[in-house]
Each structure stands twice: as structure tokens, then as C-alpha cells.
């Protein structure tokens, strides 16, 4: 089965109503499906990285970091791309909340992002072919979601980046995760 067909199947299993699409509602839905709570964080990403997904070991919470200096259009695309990784259950960097806090304090977060390219906790480097396959899957999910959103005439939600979750913003500020 090719990548597109597999990803189409995954999305249809998700059974999300794309007529109600906003990036937050979709992330919430994907989070529920994956048994976690997903939060987006705008960040000054290191060069060459557009987004990163960090999973917490000690609580069902996942952070999707995206380059806050990217054009708004690309920020939403990056979020969808990272959600594609989550939906596919790809391996990512897993840390405790304390480790995450510590890395923020010591300005090591961008170093962590580079390590998020490693396979989970084992530290085993992914091969180029594996990485490209994972990227292809995540990118296909992003593209299929965009197609659905266009089909449901909700295109404007792919163009704006304003967050409607003030509570989440306050929580992230408290953690020091909001720059």
C-alpha cells in the first residue's frame, strides 16, 4: 500500500469533521486519538528546523514547537506536519517536564530539538531513508488535511495563526515555554 493510501486510511479512521476545522480543534482531536494533550509553542527554532515535537515522559502531554518567525501560512503547515508525525506514532524525543524546564533555563532547548531527530530514548540515529519516509508520511497527512479543509470551504483557517486558547497560553507562560 502506498503512503497516500495509508495516510488516507489513517485520516478516515480519525473521523474528524473538517467543516469545523481550526488548527486548535484538529490538534485537540488528534491528541484525544493519541491519548495526549497537544500544545503549540512558537519558538526561535535553530536554522534548518521548522518544527519539533517533544513528548513528556511523566505526563500525557506533547509540545509542538514551530518557528515563530516563519510566515503564518508556513506556521500552520508546520503544525499540521508535526501533527502528522503524532498521528503516525513516529518516534520523537521524550523528556520529563523537569528536563524540559532545565533545558529552557540553560538555553539548551534548541540542542534538544536537534536531538529530537534521534530515535526516542535509545539515542539510535535514524537513517536517511527512515527519516525521509517519516517526513513523507507527515507531509502527506498535512496535504490531505489541507485538501479536506479546502473541500469544506474552511480555507481561511489555514491562513491565520491566532490562538483562541488563552488558558493554554497562560499555562505555557507559567512553564516558561512562551517567549
Amino acid at each position: 500500500m502506498d503512503t497516500i493510501t495509508r495516510m488516507q486510511r489513517k485520516l478516515s479512521e480519525l473521523d474528524f469533521d473538517f467543516s469545523t476545522f481550526t488548527i486548535e480543534s484538529f490538534a485537540q482531536f488528534v491528541g484525544q486519538h493519541a491519548g495526549t494533550n497537544i500544545q503549540f509553542i512558537g519558538w526561535d527554532m535553530p536554522p534548518g528546523l521548522f518544527g519539533a515535537w517533544v513528548s513528556l515522559k511523566d505526563s500525557p502531554r506533547d509540545y509542538v514547537f514551530y518557528n515563530k518567525t516563519s510566515p503564518p501560512l508556513l506556521q500552520i503547515h508546520t503544525k499540521l506536519h508535526e501533527l502528522g508525525h503524532i498521528l503516525n506514532g513516529h518516534a520523537t524525543l521524550s523528556v520529563t517536564l523537569d528536563e524540559l524546564r532545565e533545558s529552557i533555563k540553560t538555553n539548551q532547548l534548541n540542542y534538544l530539538f536537534k536531538n529530537s531527530l534521534l530515535r526516542g530514548e535509545s539515542g539510535e540515529q535514524t537513517t536517511t531513508a527512515e527519516r525521509l519516509q517519516m517526513e513523507a508520511e507527515a507531509e502527506t497527512v498535512a496535504e490531505l488535511v489541507q485538501t479536506e479543509v479546502f473541500g469544506n470551504e474552511a480555507m481561511m483557517h489555514l491562513l491565520t495563526t491566532e490562538s483562541s486558547y488563552e488558558e493554554a497560553d497562560a499555562y505555557l507562560s507559567h512553564l516558561g515555554l512562551k517567549q
Partner: protein
């Protein structure tokens, strides 16, 4: 034999059209919740239309006679029609300035006051007690000539002023439907400017040389007036009409845009290949042009960001840089430096429609250069 539409037909057409628009705008104004928040442009439209309705109502021959008898002031309709037409144009230009986010120049405010003052003083110092005349074309004395010339000059200048305002709106309009609206809206002011300019020129000529008066010229000028009266309601048609008109143009424009953006994507592909390359059938693309334009922009932005990252830092990885949907496998050749430079011409913080237009423009320029 072709019959040239009469002046009565003009008044009837203009009056009925104005009445319809005025009633429609009354409904819109009534719908607004508070006076402070009322749409200023709609209020001005309503005033403009109401003034035109009154002007049309009192412009028939019967009305001329009865109004003069009723008020005891001869030719009162002359004065009222000129004053109301002038005021209507002043209000309209003010409304257009609101749309343009511009202030109405002080000269425009001063001109209406001056015109009204001169017309009223001329009228009440000779015209109001002279013979009852229905025809506005031939001036009987110098006072009447001056009275008509000032009115025609002011109205012609104001019609031309609205054309310049609408031209600005054509160029500032983002949507094609909006540009079509303003383009079609200029038709009536163009005819109106022609009409009042022709009158402004013709009236003194036949005052000085009455033997030159010619019915064919009268009819020709009158016909231009009829055209102005038929075409002015275009300005007030609902947006959906212009959206409908613009559909085929938008589609063709989108098709060309997608072609241009695809070209740019292919050029970026040479440096940063796409991770997912779907080859959608042409028919599918033709049915979802908006979607494919959006995808093309995302892909271009992705490639641009990777190239920017490469330029700004020494990236060391098995893949030099990996974006959302593209990757840079090796350092770009100097040959490809040009595509990087080309992409920098676009400010990515722009709104989506501008972004599409800008990337399309650079794609065309790049393509042209590549061919040369």
C-alpha cells in the same frame, strides 16, 4: 427610423433607478443598530439617490409649470435641479473618499458652497422673475448664460473628479470583482462628464451664434445623457453580480497563476526536492485550482526557508537541511544562487493574496529571464 430617446425618458429611468436604490439603502440604514455605527458610505448613497429622485421628479415639463405656479417663483425647478445635482455629486465624491480612506479636499467643500451661493444669488436677482422657460439649452440673457455655465462647469468637474476617485479604487482593489465593479462604475460618470462638458461648450456658442443651433447636436447630447442615466445604477449593484461576472476571469487568472507557481516549484525542486510529489491528474487540478495554488505557495515557502537556513548557517547533517516537505541534500551549486536571490524579493509577511501575486510576478520574471 431610429428615435432618439427623449429627455423625459432619461428622467424616468434615472428617477426609477434612484428610487429603487434609495429604498434598498433605506432598508440597510434601518437595519443598523445605532446611528453612530451606521455605515457612512450607505448614508451618503441614500442621500445621493434621494436627491436624484427629487431631481428626476421635478424635471418634467408638467412639474416645471406647476411648481412655478405653486411657489410663485418662475423657473424654481431650474435652481432646485442644479443645486440638488451638484449636492448629489458632492455627497457621492465624499462617499468615495471614505472608501479610499482619504479626506475630501478643502477645495471640494469650498466649491460646493461657492457654487450654491452664486447660483442662488444669480437666480434671485433676475431669473426667478423672468419669463417661464422649460428649455435649459438656450440662454435668453447673460445672467441665464452665467447661471447655466456655472452649474454645467461644476457638475462636469465633479463628474470627472469621481472618475479619478474610481480609477484609484480600480488600482487599489484586491479582488478582481471589486476592480470590475469600479471599472464598470466609471461608465456613467464618463458619459455624464461628456454631457455636461458638451453643454458647457455648446450653450455659449448658440447664445452668441443662434443660427448654429442644430437639433442633431441637441439629440446627440441628449443621447449621451440617457446613456449616463441608464448606466449609473451599475455603481449600486450587489457584490454578487460582480463576483459572478468575475468568475471566468478569476478562473483563467488562477490557471495562469498555477502554471507560473508550478514553474517556480520546479526550479526550487532542482535545489531542494520535494519529499512528496503527487502527480495529480490535470482534470483534478483544474477543478481545485485554489487548493493547488495554496499547495504551491506552501511548497515555495518551504524551499525558500531551507535555502535561507543554508545561507545563514553551516548546517551539518546527513541531510543538509530538512524542512516540512522538502530537503536540501547537498550544498546548492552557484548556479542555483540565483533562485535564492529571486525568492528574496518577496516579503513573506504579506497577506495571502499579495503573497500569491508576488510569487507569481517573480516566477514570470524568472521564466522570462530563463528563456532569454
Amino acid at each position: 427610423m431610429i428615435t432618439i430617446p427623449t429627455q423625459e425618458l432619461f428622467y424616468m429611468t434615472a428617477g426609477i433607478s434612484a428610487l429603487i436604490v434609495a429604498l434598498w439603502k433605506t432598508h440597510k440604514i434601518y437595519r443598523d443598530t445605532s446611528w453612530e455605527n451606521r455605515n457612512k458610505v450607505i448614508v451618503r448613497t441614500w442621500i445621493f439617490c434621494t436627491l436624484i429622485v427629487v431631481t428626476a421628479l421635478i424635471s418634467s415639463s408638467e412639474s416645471y409649470v406647476s411648481m412655478s405656479e405653486w411657489t410663485g417663483i418662475n423657473n424654481i425647478n431650474w435652481l432646485v435641479t442644479y443645486l440638488f445635482t451638484s449636492l448629489a455629486l458632492y455627497i457621492m465624491s465624499d462617499g468615495l473618499n471614505i472608501i479610499l480612506n482619504a479626506r475630501t479636499p478643502k477645495a471640494v467643500h469650498a466649491a460646493i458652497v461657492l457654487e450654491w451661493a452664486i447660483l442662488i444669488s444669480l437666480f434671485f436677482t433676475g431669473i426667478s422673475d423672468s419669463h417661464l422657460a422649460i428649455d435649459h439649452v438656450i440662454a435668453k440673457n447673460m445672467r441665464e448664460l452665467l447661471f447655466m455655465e456655472i452649474a454645467y462647469f461644476y457638475i462636469a468637474v465633479m463628474c470627472f473628479y469621481t472618475i479619478t476617485q474610481m480609477t484609484q479604487l480600480i488600482y487599489s482593489g484586491r479582488e478582481l470583482s471589486t476592480r470590475i465593479r469600479w471599472q464598470l462604475s466609471t461608465v456613467s460618470p464618463v458619459f455624464a462628464t461628456l454631457f455636461f462638458t458638451a453643454r458647457f461648450v455648446y450653450v455659449p456658442i448658440i447664445y452668441l451664434w443662434p443660427e448654429w443651433d442644430n437639433m442633431v447636436v441637441h439629440d446627440a447630447i441628449g443621447f449621451v445623457f440617457v446613456l449616463a442615466s441608464i448606466t449609473w445604477p451599475i455603481f449600486y449593484l450587489p457584490n454578487s453580480v460582480f463576483t459572478f461576472i468575475s468568475h471566468p476571469f478569476v478562473y483563467i487568472n488562477n490557471l495562469i497563476t498555477l502554471q507560473d507557481l508550478n514553474f517556480l516549484q520546479r526550479e526550487i525542486d532542482k535545489v531542494c526536492p520535494r519529499i512528496v510529489r503527487q502527480h495529480e491528474p490535470l482534470l483534478k487540478q483544474l477543478l481545485k485550482l485554489d487548493m493547488y495554488i495554496y499547495r504551491a505557495i506552501i511548497s515555495i515557502l518551504d524551499g525558500k526557508q531551507i535555502l535561507n537556513s543554508y545561507r545563514n548557517d553551516d548546517l551539518s547533517s546527513d541531510l543538509i537541511a530538512l524542512g516540512n516537505g522538502r530537503f536540501l541534500q547537498s550544498a546548492p551549486q552557484p548556479l542555483h544562487g540565483h533562485i535564492y536571490e529571486t525568492l528574496q524579493a518577496v516579503d513573506d509577511s504579506n497577506d495571502y493574496p499579495f503573497l500569491v501575486a508576488q510569487y507569481r510576478a517573480i516566477a514570470r520574471a524568472y521564466r522570462k529571464e530563463a528563456k532569454a
